[in-house]
């Protein structure tokens, strides 16, 4: 450990915020770039499953809410790419990594949205799980990331309430709507639990990230918080969590769940989820189809600048 390393760790321990121009260890920088860009990519890819229902939203009010939500996700992507850029990497590089498959994004977005209830389930469960992960990041040691997360969490919690309200309308609606809601819960429950990552005993990097205060709670801790918060919400909706082993441990006050099928998680991570290929292809198509537009914008800006200079000269 060098003296610089020690001084850096001291600042972290003092809960100082690290800023872009401050010295930082390469590992810290690398970890943050990976995590922030992965987070940004998740926001962007996450626009696709929900975007899938914009044209079919069942009322104009719901359509407007969904459009606004997906737009917010684009906005989150923007803040996060900006935060990553403060670490010396360009947005184009990051996009390149996403499109080439080098960079990851949250596996949850490799599941399809099959019915309108999936929009509710994503808001309630996926955004709910995201918030559990993200709220501690508002206190992350890296300043630009922490500040981006404050803004993001505020919007995410609005989305989460909106998603729950949507599920409520279905759960209290016609029998067909209730069935749709239950079906969505059945499909999204386990993938949501997997969003917290592998069990602590298999989780790499954790200790270092905790020391750097990039991470503040373990995967299993966050997962448990999510379960404890969500099970009563499902009960309130009158929906059944698809886990016959689920039970409340009255001694600990925590809900205990049956075993998670990590093989499925591994397969989706490896690219075999129902939509991995389609998600990346959709992003790649948008990027490739848009190339002429971006090129034209650059060419026009150059022309305009040349004209302005001529005028000025």
């Amino acid at each position: 450990v060098t003296e610089e390393d020690a001084r850096f760790q001291q600042r972290i321990d003092n809960e100082d915020k690290i800023e872009p121009r401050d010295w930082m260890p390469d590992g810290y920088r690398r970890t943050l770039v990976r995590q922030i860009s992965q987070h940004a990519h998740s926001e962007i890819v996450g626009m696709l499953p929900e975007g899938n229902w914009i044209t079919r939203a069942p009322s104009l009010r719901r359509k407007v809410a969904l459009l606004a939500k997906v737009q917010d996700e684009g906005g989150h992507g923007l803040y996060l790419y900006s935060a990553a850029e403060t670490l010396g990497v360009s947005r184009d590089e990051l996009v390149e990594q996403l499109l080439s498959g080098k960079a990851k994004y949250s596996s949850i977005f490799n599941y399809p949205t099959l019915t309108w209830a999936d929009i509710g389930a994503i808001g309630w469960l996926v955004d709910g799980a995201a918030i559990m992960n993200q709220v501690p990041l508002c206190r992350c040691s890296y300043g630009p990331y922490a500040r981006a997360m404050v803004r993001i969490c505020r919007e995410e919690s609005f989305h989460q309430r909106q998603g729950y309200e949507l599920m409520m309308a279905l759960a209290k609606g016609t029998p067909e709507q209730k069935r749709m809601a239950q079906d969505a819960l059945n499909r999204w429950w386990w993938p949501s639990l997997m969003m917290f990552g592998p069990p602590d005993e298999h989780s790499a990097h954790s200790a270092q990230n905790m020391a750097w205060k990039i991470k503040r709670f373990s995967n299993d801790d966050l997962r448990q918080r999510f379960i404890d918060a969500t099970v009563p919400q499902a009960e309130y909706l009158g929906l059944t969590i698809p886990d016959p082993e689920l039970r409340l441990n009255t001694e600990t006050g925590h809900y205990e769940i049956g075993p998670i099928d990590w093989t499925e998680f591994e397969q989706v991570l490896k690219g075999n989820g129902p939509c991995n290929r389609e998600r990346i292809e959709a992003r790649r198509k948008a990027w490739d189809d848009g190339a002429w537009v971006r090129e034209a914008a650059v060419a026009h800006a150059r022309k305009r600048k040349a004209r302005d200079m001529k005028k000025a000269g």
Partner: protein, 256 residues
């Protein structure tokens, strides 16, 4: 009584024309969500889509009130088939590439901004209020789409060619914006509606200026397509509605 009824019909038709055009164009824009050429533009297109669907909600709600048969915004949006839609054909044209989308948007926005500026002074308090709200947003839309038309028209050779193609395709759909719905002239005379035919000069001036800056020659006003105001649409609208209306049609008793 008969005059009252016919002026109610005229107002209903007028509100539908504006509302349907906003809704269908907003729908088309919303198809871009997640697929635009760059993230900033994804957000901008979605924003405009949001505004347009917002206008549609106000206008369709008002149309339902005027009609007086208890149809609300969703009933009107989701339970009418293609021949009861009154949107401009321009709005339903498919997205094709970003250049077509943004040119379609500009041709519409240049009309909408002229319309809402005048309609904000309507003797009908509801239309005036809707227009006053819309005009602020539409001023931003027309600036945004106009800037893109310039950028792409006067960008690269490839972008210029695409925009010239888009202009050639879309121009025949611009004539309809200056047609009148049944009774529109009477509504205009009463200070309630804006006579669409009177927007032509201002629209042409605005469009010509942008096309010129974009180095795109303005097409001659040849034969113009028509039919949207009579419910005679292109083959595209049916597919759009089948998709948009699916849930309301499949679950007619549900509340969402």
């Amino acid at each position: 009584m008969s005059t009252q009824a016919s002026s109610r019909d005229a107002l209903f038709a007028y509100a539908l024309r504006l509302g349907d055009t906003s809704l269908v164009l907003g729908h088309r824009l919303s198809e871009w969500c997640g697929h635009a050429p760059e993230l900033e533009e994804d957000i901008a297109l979605t924003n405009i889509a949001l505004d347009l669907v917002g206008h549609a909600r106000l206008l369709l709600t008002y149309a339902g009130d005027v009609e007086g048969k208890g149809r609300d915004e969703d009933r009107l949006a989701y339970r009418r088939d293609v021949f009861d839609y009154r949107n401009h054909l321009l709005a339903e044209q498919p997205n094709r590439d970003f250049g077509h989308t943004i040119l379609r948007q500009f041709l519409h926005d240049a009309w909408a901004v002229e319309l809402y500026e005048r309609l904000a002074g309507s003797a009908d308090a509801t239309l005036a209020a809707i227009a006053a709200k819309a005009v602020k947003e539409v001023r931003y839309h027309v600036r945004h789409s106009g800037e893109w038309v310039v950028r792409l028209g006067d960008g690269t050779d490839a972008s210029h060619a695409r925009m010239a193609d888009a202009l050639d395709r879309l121009w025949p759909y611009t004539g309809e914006m200056f047609e009148r719905t049944a009774g529109e002239a009477e509504l205009a005379a009463a200070g309630i509606a804006v006579d669409a035919a009177e927007l032509k000069a201002a629209w042409t001036a605005r469009v010509s200026a942008v096309l010129e800056e974009a180095t795109l020659p303005r097409p001659a006003d040849g034969w113009m397509q028509s039919g949207g105001l009579r419910g005679e649409h292109s083959e595209h609208l049916g597919y759009l509605l089948a998709e948009m209306q699916f849930l309301q049609r499949a679950y007619p008793d549900a509340t969402w």
